[in-house]
Subunit: 592 residues, 2 copies
Amino acid sequence: MPVYKAPLRDMKFLLNDVFDYPGHYQSLSSGGNATPDIVDAILSECGRFCEQVLSPLYQSGDEEGCQLNNGLVTTPKGYKEAYSQYLAGGWQGLSAPEAFGGQGLPTSMGLFKQEMMGTANWSFAMYPGLSLGAMNTIQLHGDEQQQQTYLVPLTEGRWGGTMCLTEPQCGTDLGQVKTRAEPQLDSSYRLSGTKIFISSGDHDLTENIVHIVLARLPDAPRGTRGISLFIVPKFLPDGQGGVGERNAVHCGALEKKMGIKASATCVMNFDGATGYLIGSENRGLECMFTFMNTARIGTAIQGVGPAELSYQWALDYARERRSMRALSGKKEPDQDADSLIHHADVRRMLLTQKAIAEGGRAMLYYAAKLADHMVEANTQGNHKLADKYDNKLGFLTPILKGFLTEMGYEATNLGMQVFGGHGYIREHGMEQIVRDTRIATLYEGTTGIQALDLLGRKVLLSTQGGAVREFTFKIANFARKQLTNKQLRPMAVELLKLTAQWNFLTVRVMLAARKDRDAVSAAANDFLMYSGYVTMAYMWLRQATVAVDKLANGGTESSAFYQTKLHTAEFYYERLLPRAQAHATVSVHSTT
Amino acid sequence: MPVYKAPLRDMKFLLNDVFDYPGHYQSLSSGGNATPDIVDAILSECGRFCEQVLSPLYQSGDEEGCQLNNGLVTTPKGYKEAYSQYLAGGWQGLSAPEAFGGQGLPTSMGLFKQEMMGTANWSFAMYPGLSLGAMNTIQLHGDEQQQQTYLVPLTEGRWGGTMCLTEPQCGTDLGQVKTRAEPQLDSSYRLSGTKIFISSGDHDLTENIVHIVLARLPDAPRGTRGISLFIVPKFLPDGQGGVGERNAVHCGALEKKMGIKASATCVMNFDGATGYLIGSENRGLECMFTFMNTARIGTAIQGVGPAELSYQWALDYARERRSMRALSGKKEPDQDADSLIHHADVRRMLLTQKAIAEGGRAMLYYAAKLADHMVEANTQGNHKLADKYDNKLGFLTPILKGFLTEMGYEATNLGMQVFGGHGYIREHGMEQIVRDTRIATLYEGTTGIQALDLLGRKVLLSTQGGAVREFTFKIANFARKQLTNKQLRPMAVELLKLTAQWNFLTVRVMLAARKDRDAVSAAANDFLMYSGYVTMAYMWLRQATVAVDKLANGGTESSAFYQTKLHTAEFYYERLLPRAQAHATVSVHSTT
């Protein structure tokens, strides 16, 4: 099985040429240390770690899976050692505040790290990934003592974290949560109940695990307004940075899953476990939702990373494997057959993967700048500004999470398809990528939930279409500037049409919803996919614009690189973007 | 985990109301015994066997898989006993000639049986399914002695069969086959080489296994014109209907696969194994291709069956599981939340599954009539007529195999999506259906190969577009008749437009191909998908026509059934068929 190669060239193209991250970082207070040299060094070093340490454990982790013995979970062979290296590199604290031992770099840097780690080995990346969720929660809503106690070991990575939301009777519908929290005299709580689907619920990578748990106080109101948030550590802190008494929270079972088998998905039993309230009573869901956007963008990475990985391996295979002759005549006459890549239909599959991986990455990096701004504003106590960026990000989040995970799944299936029957055999790893990626459209809110969040909440309820107007205004301004360039004009014209159509569709659905509220749910999925295709088209025009510029001013050794970018953009507009029209047609003709 | 329920009502709707199978069977010489009563009894009995015997082994077979010990393969627990019941029921010979102990019923009856078996338990159904391939080959190309020796035990099901084509270096490109066959003095051959991906290559269900093997004579020309076909039995026949000496063909390894784990996928080593030539030397590929259409329609079933199964289970779950409230207001106010089915987006997913399963079934049953006619003509020695039907079937085959397996995969993924995170957990069975179905777009020719077969061979090369003209003429005639009906008119108008467009696209691609032959390969996939959507639209209009008629003349207790058929047809036209336009756009704008 091949290994992952960190696509540093593609990443830097986006960072330096398309999105001007150097300038962006200069404008951030946390960006002082993120000079181009430092960013370069960090990306290279992270890439090396992912290529050499995480990627080789990808397949063995799937074969071996996690084991539960006597209530303790062990991760697959090599995971502990890899995690030690991760710890030694200080990777967990990359974007965490220096006050808690982090490196204080911008949030976006953490996202680039997550992308590379998740591409090389998604299951592994989930352990530190879940910890980030716990860290964010405590940082935003914990009191000072909680922050001192938990954030330092979490930032070091000595301790891990989880998010305990789902219960057997409810996942999306958290108002149905039943886990009880009884107040104690010492101001702690005793938690009892069962949580399921808890990623990293137990494992052997860290000396302690900090569970963030949704539970209900005895006198809490019914539904979502009666849910509180608690810290429940596996071991109670000893007050000196170490661990003390074992808490009454245990892994009762490991779920058998389709994929991400090296990630421990636990049933967690709370049997009167000691917990500490975060934030105010009955305000738990609000606390949870404050960093929902970041968590969902973290999951959107799973649309991009596996598409990239599957593309890399499929491309290698298509260059090596020979079958039949190209229709236009022998391409390798001295061989028994031509390489797969000489077949136009195989190139279609590979280019679709490439367009998704690189278009999706651009969407992530575009959003990451907004996340940086939001965090910066929050840090500076400018909540109005933070809200502004959070709203921009909140509009993009369901598009990224919903659209990119669906597209990523398509891309990984195409990679498998390039392998023919061999794609179905485990040793090649292609089917594992498909199985691993399949979860992405389900957790952190299914695609259906993302679609409702986008259309129902972000577009209609909160902004009466304003979110679409604002974003399309921006896109149209950009597209209009490219009309004078011969190579870009066809794409720019198409994109301009789409910005108008997006607003038209929004109004149509709004009117339909006045007659029948279910029309929103009926149209939501197609509206989401439509939005995704247009957003990705914007990203491809931006990339094409840079490529055309570089080629015009160039003749450098990179011209093949830019030529390919331009070609991929054109491929996207010709072969993938037309699907947007099917979604447009459907979203205005959707019986409920 | 729920069990499979044979959809007899839906099947009979197609057989009796839509396609007039009773009349069709009366017109066939093999149809004398296929009276409506007999057909009914057979379908019910087969359904019972699939529901009670095969379905319960679906999940356990996946968990346990096949085992290889000392060169012998054992199937999962219960498979042997189930196969005994299959044998006792005489199911293997259902459509086989009476001369060899079969029941001599029409070919289509065998297809209905395969559909139900394949839906209940695809892995199990592959064992007798592969035997049918071997039976067909020997019946069409074997000499009288070969037929006497092999066809009786194969028809009884005492012996099994395989097709040994693929080798490590080649699958699609069989011209690269290397397995050698050395002629012996006794007119037998000694075969040496390695075959991979051999389904049912070894197992414990039958006392003997008859391998049909592609190999190359020492003096054979290179490429596809130097390939011959051989019978290589696991045990040499003892001349009295039993088995004698063990032959030098062994299973060297079992492939580890993404799914269909209860089906033994073997590496088969031929170490000077005794074989017998079928047909003429160097004409092996032609012999293979004579029943390629039937084999591929057999695989097309895998698009329909799993879609049906996944739909059944997702529908049950959507009725039981409660989450959130419908946007249009509480539907079950006395409960904590509404059932999933009250959410329009969930209904979208379920109806998509239903439209694919029932539209796809109609496509199969439509094609099955052509298969009956072809077999009938062959039996009567009317090869000209047989060719005519074979050509009609040959045009539909890649559409059925390519389009339906892709759509089936989509449908099974939607079923999993209805389950949310629970869909990813093995115990619910939904992810198994996805994994099992994934192979369907790969084996028996990938979707890419089907697309090339359709556009390159069947449409352009053989008929210069005539195949499309002929089929669309038929569709348009039918659609035109429905224009006067108010309920059917919108669908009929749309379908008429599509018949014109299909021809237009064909001409466009033909012109593009004159400039660049690779244009065919570049456009093929979208042309295939387009063809599939239009063909399924035709099938849904036919079903809707019957439903409207029944409802108009009705008021029976079945009116809900027909109402749902009409509703599903409208859903298909409104929500799935618009995708055809994206494929149309792309297939005429496909850079190579």
